[in-house]
């Protein structure tokens, strides 16, 4: 009945290791259940500054400001937050800032709450329309290598990449 595949594979620890290896210094985030472990790890690590946001577009601007000052960062959010970011992504594309965001998906697999579905369905299209490449991850063992590859592309040649962690990977929310 429970479709959570995370119990058997320590993908959060691998993801955290990848963030450290890539020298990520700031992590602006809006919480999601799927990000909860990684957010805990970040708060326990003194070399990374977690930045809790009131709305996701704040994080887009923060990532750009951090890079002006020389810091690498990654933005964490859930799928509903992508819509909040649309105009702020013009800052990323217009200035060719490196940009990586990790997005946990709701509204696509065993979703009880239909209010999550409209934005979820529009996530990939919205990001691509605003010039952000989308890599979708379905399996836990692919999370860390995909984020590692995205960080390499972003910070070696100013690319803009979103990694979508599917709801099947995260585990559906039980009500």
């Amino acid at each position: 009945m429970i479709e959570n595949t995370t119990a058997t594979y320590p993908w959060e620890q691998e993801l955290f290791n990848v963030l450290k290896k890539n020298n990520i210094k700031q992590i602006p985030y809006l919480p999601d259940a799927g990000h909860s472990k990684i957010i805990e790890m970040i708060h326990d690590d003194h070399s990374i500054t977690p930045v809790v946001l009131t709305t996701e577009e704040e994080g887009v601007a923060a990532v750009c400001g951090a890079w002006l000052g020389g810091d690498r960062s990654v933005l964490l959010m859930q799928s509903s937050g992508v819509g909040n970011c649309i105009n702020m992504l013009s800052l990323v594309s217009n200035c060719n800032f490196p940009f990586v965001t990790i997005i946990t998906m709701r509204g696509e697999f065993g979703e009880f709450n239909s209010w999550q579905v409209p934005m979820s369905s529009a996530v990939q299209g919205t990001l691509e329309l605003m010039g952000v490449q989308v890599h979708r991850v379905e399996k836990t063992e692919e999370v860390a290598p995909t984020v590692d590859a995205a960080l390499y592309s972003a910070y070696s040649s100013n690319q803009r990449i979103a990694i979508l962690l599917s709801q099947k990977l995260i585990g559906r929310k039980e009500w």
């Binding site: 210094k25 700031q26 602006p28 500054t49 930045v51 809790v52 946001l53 009131t54 709305t55 577009e57 704040e58 994080g59 887009v60 601007a61 923060a62 990532v63 750009c64 400001g65 951090a66 890079w67 002006l68 000052g69 020389g70 810091d71 960062s73 105009n87 702020m88 013009s90 800052l91 217009n94 200035c95 060719n96 800032f97 040649s157 100013n158």
Partner: protein
């Protein structure tokens, strides 16, 4: 009725005084007149002028301030731009970077779009909001004599510091900075000794 004094400060003079006091500031300017004001005081490689991304100036300043803890970061923006990023005041209040100052030039209007009255012209007080979110130092500037206090607070680096500056709702001529975002980014990073890719 818009509550604005006829003796309110001239925006160009205020910004000029802040910036000419210290040419080493790292500055983010909000879109519209604030960017023109910063440019009119004299250009610098460490001035990043926003021409869009409304609501993002303070958060760019936060990311920059966290990355450059040994430099003074000043965000200069208008009431309308800050109102669109109202939540960022709470975010900065939580993070409390000592080296970040937010200067809001408040004329109570959306100046760039035809001087429509804004929330601050209708009674909303951004300084009170900053106080409530935990900014270490908050001040309201209404006279020319008080402007020098902004530079003192920036130097003190005991922030985050929030200055609400009541300015006249006039539109001085445009002073247009570089429009090319890539150039703005690259020259800024180069000035800090970072690769420009």
């Amino acid at each position: 009725m818009v509550n604005m004094s006829k003796n309110a400060l001239n925006r160009r003079s205020v910004v000029n005084e802040i910036l000419t006091n210290d040419r080493d500031l790292l500055v983010i300017s909000g879109l519209g007149s604030s960017s023109y004001d910063v440019h009119a005081s004299g250009d610098s490689d460490t001035y990043f002028y926003l021409w869009g991304a409304m609501g993002g100036a303070a958060m760019m300043g936060l990311g920059l301030a966290l990355a450059q803890p040994d430099r003074d970061v000043v965000v200069i923006t208008g009431d309308g731009e800050q109102l669109m990023g109202l939540g960022s005041i709470a975010t900065i209040g939580v993070l409390k970077p000592k080296n970040l100052s937010i200067v809001v030039l408040d004329n109570g209007h959306f100046g760039e779009t035809g001087m429509q009255v804004s929330h601050t012209g209708l009674g909303v007080n951004l300084a009170e909001i900053a106080k409530a979110t935990g900014f270490e130092k908050v001040t309201e500037i209404k006279t020319g004599d008080e402007v020098s206090d902004i530079s003192l607070q920036v130097k003190e680096r005991n922030g985050p510091f929030f200055a609400l500056v009541k300015i006249a709702s006039e539109s001085p001529g445009r002073s247009l900075p570089i429009l090319d975002g890539v150039e703005l980014k690259n020259r800024f990073r180069k000035a800090l000794g970072h690769a420009t890719l």
